[in-house]
């Protein structure tokens, strides 16, 4: 049976219209994964001797921070890990046991990158422990216990999927705890440390996380079983619709018509709503850089990186997938009384407006001085003038349809921001980073800022020319895009 499922999986991957773009991305992702694997390997080998050298007890120290390691893992998973996706509907009436389908679905996640990656840290670390003469029984029990906990994260994440109401308060609580530890008000690790240490001190305690894992697996399994009826969770829930007229946008003519639609799109679909939340989070991302809390972030290119990120959140999480947001009704857009240019222009304006608003919100960075806010403004100019065009250009080739409703796939993937988005964003940050460093190291930060802003202004100046080119590309790609959107993801 498993063999048949695997062949189905392979077919859906290899036969999708976006196969080629997917393949290129997969290769990029593999390179990214390799990078993380090497990082974790080095970490796993080096942490033990370094801690020892610094006069800490390595195992105790690791156990102390383990709670943060696991929560960080959970948070990263929440945003990045894809849910096990499978089109369950057609399988419901086939003579297949539901349990087989679900076990396969859950089984797939065992081999997820987000689980495997930890082995690259844990295995060398455990090996190091043994090599340095920690008791064998305790060490192996600890390894087993922690591995089980990592898998617990895996299934917790599946259960948590898309329960923003649960997730965000939890993430907030963790941040609060981290902050209070940093400022020495309250130390959560004092309470959690003994739990992890117990596994090491009393090897038999390793059974606790293993049993927990078993229970979580069972809970996830039950959850999926309970949701496999068409009339319950697989069916779409009809929401009470709210009419919004947004008449104030009428004064912008056709542009206003499209903007109205895009605002509704953003507000009424789960997936696009998350992009809004993400954009706001991106604004806060600069805090890591400009509060001088992390040393590696002090260099000139990294400062520019943060500036681009702060205001470019919306651009990256929403803009990258233009025109895929309209994939469900792309034939309408292509046959209605819409000139291509108007359509593209409205998307461009949406991105420019969002970037502008982000820049306004980011004005709290003035607290860190004019220099910091200057960087952010420069980054915003670059985002509006240059990256907005780049994003639209890329959009012509992104042919992955976005299923806004996801009602047909109850266990569908609704995340807005995943590893894929991250990767295609990178080039848009490398250029300003390079330009800024060039100015910064040859002359001053002002020259660097000038270069970046200049590139942005140049983008504005050539807007019409660039748009004509983009329009041409969209027209050439039109038929392929229409065909690709016809397939449901």
């Amino acid at each position: 049976m498993i063999r048949r499922f695997l062949s189905l999986e392979w077919k859906s991957f290899a036969r999708s219209a976006s196969f080629q773009t997917n393949l290129a991305l997969k290769i990029l992702m593999a390179l990214g994964a390799l990078y993380f694997i090497v990082c974790f390997l080095i970490l796993g080998l080096a942490v033990y001797p370094i801690l020892k050298e610094q006069g800490y007890n390595p195992v105790q120290t690791i156990n102390r921070i383990m709670i943060y390691y696991l929560t960080a893992d959970l948070i990263i998973r929440y945003f990045m890990q894809k849910m096990p996706v499978m089109n369950i509907r057609p399988l419901l009436v086939t003579p297949l046991k539901k349990s087989t389908v679900i076990h396969f679905l859950l089984g797939k996640t065992w081999f997820s990158f987000f689980n495997i990656i930890h082995a690259f840290f844990l295995v060398p670390f455990t090996a190091m422990m043994l090599y340095k003469g920690e008791p064998v029984g305790s060490t192996l029990a600890w390894w087993l216990g922690i591995s089980a906990l990592i898998y617990c994260c895996n299934f917790t994440n599946i259960l948590l999927n898309n329960k923003d109401a649960v997730f965000y308060p939890m993430a907030g609580l963790v941040l609060l705890l981290a902050a209070s530890q940093y400022y020495g008000w309250f130390d959560i690790t004092a309470y959690t440390y003994p739990l992890f240490q117990a596994v090491f001190d009393t090897p038999v305690m390793a059974l606790v996380p293993v049993v927990l894992l078993g229970l979580l697996y069972y809970a996830t399994y039950r959850y999926f079983v309970g949701h496999m009826h068409l009339d319950e969770k697989l069916a779409s829930k009809a929401e009470i619709a709210q009419t919004e007229n947004l008449t104030w946008l009428n004064q912008f003519g056709t542009l206003g018509t499209f903007l109205k639609n895009d605002i509704r799109l953003l507000k009424r679909n789960k997936r696009s709503k998350t992009t809004l939340v993400m954009s706001v989070l991106f604004i806060a991302y600069g805090l890591l850089f400009y509060t001088n809390s992390i040393e590696a972030y002090q260099s000139a290119p990294m400062q520019m990186f943060a500036a681009i990120f702060c205001t470019g959140g919306f651009l990256f999480v929403f803009g990258q997938f233009i025109p895929s947001w309209d994939s469900a009704y792309y034939p309408l857009m292509m046959s209605q009384n819409i000139q291509y240019r108007d359509y593209l222009m409205s998307k461009w304006w949406l991105m420019v407006l969002a970037t502008f608003v982000s820049t306004l919100i980011a004005s709290f960075y003035l607290y860190f001085g004019w220099d910091v806010y200057k960087m952010i403004i420069v980054g915003a100019v670059f985002n509006m003038g240059f990256n907005s065009h780049l994003v639209m250009l890329g959009g012509a080739y992104v042919k992955t349809p976005i299923d806004l409703t996801t009602s047909k796939q109850a266990f569908g993937n609704k995340q807005a921001f995943n590893a894929k988005t991250m990767l295609i964003s990178l080039p848009k940050m490398l250029l300003p980073m390079g330009l800024y460093s060039l100015g910064y190291y040859t002359h001053s930060s002002d020259l660097g800022a000038l270069l970046v802003a200049g590139a942005g202004v140049l983008g504005f100046a050539f807007r019409d020319r660039v748009f004509s080119q983009i329009e041409k590309i969209y027209k050439v790609e039109k038929y392929a895009t229409l065909a690709a959107y016809k397939q449901k993801a």
């Binding site: 009809a238 619709a241 799109l265 009704y329 034939p331 309408l332 046959s335 009384n337 409703t405 038929y479």
Partner: protein, 232 residues
Amino acid sequence: MIQVQQLSKMYANGVKVLDINELEIPKGQSFGLVGNNGAGKTTLFSLLLDLIQPTTGKVINNGVAVSSSEAWKPFTAAFLDESFLIGYLTAEEYFYFIGELRGQNKADVDALLAKHEDFFNGEILTKKKYLRDLSKGNQKKVGIIATLIGNPEVIILDEPFANLDPTTVNRLKKILKELAEDPNVTLLVSSHDLVHTVEVCNRIVALHLGQVVKDIQTSPETLQELEAFFAV
């Protein structure tokens, strides 16, 4: 109004799904397209709307070659399938959206909607439902009426009768007959249902494996002729 010249569509596997040497649809005609599955009806309509690329030949809509200019869009309206609906809008918002694209103000659209109130049968307007939550039949009603917004000169409907309840089918026939009588409107309708098509259209073209096999002006004998043709 619409000229089709040496139009063919071939897919990579070498199968020709459409091959029409010459087809002329004069202004004001109501044109019915019938044929079995795979006859090429939707392919032809998609080509008329420049949604797919022809292998050879071209479509000219009111003097505009559809694949090289967008100037046909202002006077052409179509509803082929649900991908012409925007799922996250309510019916009213969708109508106003289309209206704005076609240069109609809210009052114009409201007047049109009021005219077709009985067609909606009280299931569409002020229902506080997004289009994605409507049933297939009700979605179709929305899509069909939306094509009437802004008095288009060319209206293309793919399988408008499918998925509709019997009462609505009769109401739709009334609407389509009215359009057929309007000398400014060129109406293109495809269907599997010979009776409905004959009733509404004054010219019927039958496609088989991508080729025109019958081209008849509707007369009292048309239905029999078609039924004989499709008989097993």
